[in-house]
């Protein structure tokens, strides 16, 4: 069975990812892979309204059968849709009924991972602590508070989704760079290279890909101290100081709160990046086409991936690029972008939403405006924000040898 074409469909899920990859064959039924299914920054009811029609569309397009699911990493905007509750009519339940043969996830989600493995497994739990910390700090500027909350909420434990994914599929694969994904067995004639995540090697982790060591992370956050701080001062027996004599201290007191908030934001970003860098990154080759699915891999993950033998060369032949990390500046680092063949009709697919992450004034907005301009100038950019403006649900690109790419908006 040789593929004759591929179709990649990108759904508008707001701030999140949902891609349906379809491999077409001449004499056989097409095969389907769902890559991520989640959204964020919505109330639960709104998520349901948004994802349900998409789940039903996927069910219709796949004629009731998914061959594989790839859950790139555990963030809610990538896997939150798999939750099968509150009822059998939930979007997650619809997807579950498509009975995928294979579920691919990063190695960090392997339930058999040793407890002392250098993985960011506890980052989600830390998000809860961060939310508590932010709660305590009434002085945090509202914009910064919003940024911290949005980031932390994305990292909240997704237990229901994680449990659901662990039970889906006849086969579970937890992959890392260089391993076989298992997708070849359900997608005949397709070659899949797992580029990421690059697993840190115990002795060389810091020079390769760094996660916050668990102890450091907990100490950095001062968890027990923070928990106790809810109730009492650090030196409960020592008198506090009040009154007009404290006036010379006021200038600094206000500013310490600003700096404290900056520190908390930096920590939240670090936890978030830890999880992003566990993203499964796949280079899929079918019908003479190369497709690059990047999840939310950030710059340091790309540094580690590109340091691996042969990876940089493979990227030279990519036809379709799933824009990394919703268009953030660090999701498409220069070192990656310059390796993609922009001059020969590269297609970029960007799933994003304005105003969820970062601040324009600080140059941290997602999607990063300067990157979007570059994508639009140097590639054929498909953007879910255009779908929203036209009240459309998805856009699909069909690629086949000898034919120009065909774009379908629905």
């Amino acid at each position: 069975m040789k593929p004759i074409g591929v179709q990649v469909r990108m759904y508008d899920v707001g701030f999140g990812d949902c891609f349906l990859l379809t491999i077409q064959y001449r004499k056989a039924q097409p095969r389907h892979v769902l890559i991520d299914f989640g959204t964020t920054a919505h109330p639960r009811e709104r998520e349901f309204e948004l994802l349900m029609p998409i789940a039903e569309d996927i069910a219709a397009l796949t004629a009731g059968k998914l061959h594989a699911i790839v859950a790139t990493h555990r963030h809610r905007d990538h896997i939150g849709g798999f939750v099968p509750t509150p009822s059998r009519t939930a979007p997650g339940a619809v997807i579950a009924r498509l009975q995928p043969d294979l579920v691919v996830q990063p190695w960090t989600e392997d339930p058999d991972l040793p407890e002392d493995a250098l993985s960011p497994a506890r980052s989600s739990a830390r998000a809860v602590s961060l939310l508590r910390l932010v709660d305590q700090q009434a002085e945090i500027h509202p914009l910064m508070r919003q940024e911290i909350l949005t980031l932390a909420q994305r990292n909240l434990p997704n237990r229901a989704a994680i449990r659901q994914l662990a039970g889906l599929g006849q086969e579970q694969r937890y992959v890392r760079a260089g391993q076989r994904s298992g997708l070849e067995s359900v997608l005949p004639g397709v070659k899949v290279s797992v580029l990421g995540p690059v697993a840190p090697r115990p002795r060389r982790s810091r020079s390769q890909l760094r996660f916050l060591p668990p102890l450091v992370a907990d100490q950095a956050l001062g968890l027990p101290a923070a928990a106790r701080a809810l109730d009492q001062p650090l030196f409960p027996d020592h008198p506090l100081w009040r009154g007009v004599a404290t006036l010379p201290t006021r200038w600094l007191r206000n500013r310490i709160h600003d700096l404290h908030a900056e520190q908390i934001l930096a920590l939240t970003r670090a936890f978030d990046a830890d999880i992003n860098n566990t993203s499964v990154v796949l280079l899929i080759e079918a019908a003479g086409q190369r497709l690059l699915f990047t999840g939310d891999a950030e710059e340091e993950s790309w540094t580690a991936m590109l340091a691996r033998k042969g990876v940089a060369e493979k990227l030279g032949g990519v036809h379709l690029y799933k824009v990394g990390h919703h268009g953030s500046a660090n999701g498409t680092p220069e070192q990656l972008w310059h390796r993609l063949p922009r001059e020969v009709g590269l297609i970029s697919m960007l799933s994003t939403r304005n105003g969820v992450h970062g601040q324009w004034e600080r140059g941290t907005e997602v999607p990063r405006q300067s990157l979007v301009e570059k994508l639009a100038m140097e590639s054929h950019l498909l953007d879910t924000r255009d779908l929203r403006r036209r009240r459309l649900m998805s856009v699909a690109v069909e690629l086949a040898p000898g034919h120009p790419p065909l774009t379908l908006m629905e």
Binding site: L212, V216, A225, A270
Partner: protein, 547 residues
């Protein structure tokens, strides 16, 4: 009149104990009339905890209370137990006050003049319990040093970063260096970013080593039968002592630098491009020199006992600390690279000790830096390789007034303007004299040596496409858009002798094409032209800031 005050501090950190007691030291700092805080003329301790919204009642005179011998004038913690040192926030305030003041005093003594903070104010604010986070930082914008606290790895204890001597000295060194060389925080080369970290580590380590108590604690109690081999007997002991409580959280400069095997290739390896790691190379070069001179002194003085050996080590550390600080006056004010700093070290020491007969510090430093691939920027002379060349050329002093030259930036600018040709200044650039500082140091002949140190900076803003037309022939990276605004920096340190004649002109010229091209390429490749790039604070360890 009382000129000095002795205060108890924790010699290293609370994890270093002798007979179960926290190792303390008594340090001498300048006496001053303190207000509640303590709040002196240069340091104001504000014990506010933003995590619990608690402002602790400070030590010192409050609401009309008078100073007593047992409060701010004396040393209330001279006989305190370890438990009291840990649990009394007044001691924490005293500890940070004394270490910041001691570090400031070391800078002022080495440079022979008052040293200013970078932010223009006179009193740096210090918060010993700023927040429940495992970090400590200096922030120029906040005019402050902030120290966090966090739970210990084991047990229910709390670790206070304000009780670690090296952490307090490290952050203070950042603040002082920022006051002396404000352009060292500009985006430049990998060396410049690393220099701030490496220098702060150096000051922190040498500050601790200059306390004989801390040195003795790291040495074996009995003299080794085979004699003292300090690399084996002391270096590892010292390294172990550092970071005992803060495992994984600080840069671990000493532990890593002692273990760092000298190699000329280190500077080019990818893992040593990040500022904290690259700074370790500078620290390693200095620490290897420190051990070599210490060993030489121990051998030649036939030091036997632990106390003698520790005393020799403290002397060497103290001398190296003075050298390290004094070198700043001989370092270019912009775009410093490690080779520049080595030339500055050698020149500063040469000015104080023209003959390198004091345990041959300069010879040892040259060798140690060379083993780590760092060569002095200046060729030097046949007798003194590596020192900066004396200012030469035909300089015009006709419109320069000596008295005014020693304190007035306008007078120095007049001199620079009149001599912009021989000084090789870029005429298209904006030029500003940053400071003029008269200083007095003890010369080699025992007489007071009066010099005037001044720095100027040149800034040129242009579009990338215009750079090729400059006489400096600066090359922009090929992918850089022609219309991108870029800023070129140059500048020099001018050292005038007692007669107002220019002795040294130590500069990184804005017209140095290869250097400017290298800097632009580095900045472009590392995303510094992206608007999202922001200059941060100087943090203890940046455990959550990825390299």
């Amino acid at each position: 009149m009382v000129r000095e005050r002795e205060l108890t501090i924790i010699a290293q950190d609370p994890g270093v104990r002798v007979h179960g007691r926290i190792l303390t030291a008594r340090v001498r700092i300048p006496h001053e009339e303190l207000a509640a805080g303590p709040r002196g003329s240069r340091v104001h301790v504000v014990d506010y905890d933003s995590s619990t919204h608690s402002l602790y009642r400070p030590m010192g005179p409050l609401n009309g209370e008078s100073l007593t011998a047992n409060s701010a004038t004396g040393d209330p913690f001279r006989t305190a137990t370890s438990a009291e040192l840990l649990s009394n926030p007044h001691f924490h305030a005293q500890n940070v006050y004394a270490i910041v003041m001691r570090t400031l005093q070391r800078f002022e003594a080495a440079l022979g003049r008052r040293v200013s903070w970078s932010f223009g104010g006179h009193q740096i604010k210090v918060a010993p319990h700023a927040f429940a986070l495992a970090n400590a930082l200096y922030s120029r914008d906040h005019e402050a040093l902030l120290f966090g606290y966090f739970p210990a790895a084991r047990g229910r204890a709390v670790v206070h970063t304000c009780l670690s001597h090296d952490i307090v000295a490290h952050e203070t060194a950042h603040a002082l260096l920022d006051g002396l060389r404000e352009r060292y925080t500009d985006p430049s080369s990998p060396d410049q970013a690393a220099f701030h970290e490496g220098f702060a580590d150096l000051v922190a380590l040498l500050s601790v080593f200059s306390l004989p108590e801390a040195m003795a604690a790291a040495l074996p109690r009995r003299a080794p039968a085979a004699g003292w081999n300090l690399r084996e007997n002391a270096a590892l002991g010292l390294a172990r002592q550092f970071g005992r409580e803060l495992s994984g959280l600080r840069s671990q400069a000493l532990r890593r630098s002692v273990a760092l095997k000298p190699s000329r290739r280190l500077l080019h390896q990818p893992q040593f491009q990040a500022p904290h790691r690259r700074g370790e190379i500078l620290v390693a070069a200095m620490m290897h020199a420190f051990l070599a001179v210490w060993q030489r002194r121990v051998d030649s003085a036939r030091a036997r006992t632990r106390t003698q050996v520790a005393g020799e080590g403290a002397c060497v550390a103290s001398h190296l600390l003075t050298m390290a600080i004094r070198a700043l006056d001989y370092a270019p004010p912009t775009d410093i690279e490690f080779g520049d700093y080595l030339s500055a070290l050698l020149t500063g020491d040469f000015e104080s000790y023209p003959r390198d007969n004091y345990y041959r510090f300069r010879s040892v430093l040259r060798g140690s830096f060379a083993r780590f691939g760092i060569q002095p920027t200046s060729v030097g002379t046949a007798e003194e390789p590596g020192i900066w060349q004396r200012a030469g050329g035909e300089l015009d002093y006709r419109r320069t007034h000596l008295e005014s030259l020693q304190r007035d930036p306008n007078e120095v600018f007049n001199f620079i303007w009149d001599n912009r040709g021989p000084l090789r200044l870029c005429e298209e650039a904006f030029t500003r004299v940053q400071s003029v500082r008269p200083c007095a140091r003890l010369g080699p002949d025992g007489f007071v040596l009066r010099e005037t140190v001044s720095e100027y900076v040149q800034v040129l803003e242009a579009e990338a496409g215009e750079l090729a037309q400059l006489s400096a022939a600066v090359e922009k990276p090929a992918e850089m858009p022609d219309t991108l605004p870029v800023k070129l920096l140059g500048g020099g340190a001018l050292v005038f002798d007692e007669g107002g004649r220019l002795k040294y002109h130590i500069h990184n010229s804005l017209l140095n094409g290869p250097r400017q091209s290298r800097r632009l390429r580095h900045l472009w490749q590392n995303g510094y032209f992206d608007p999202s790039y922001r200059r941060g604070h100087f943090e203890l360890s940046c455990p959550w800031r990825k390299p």
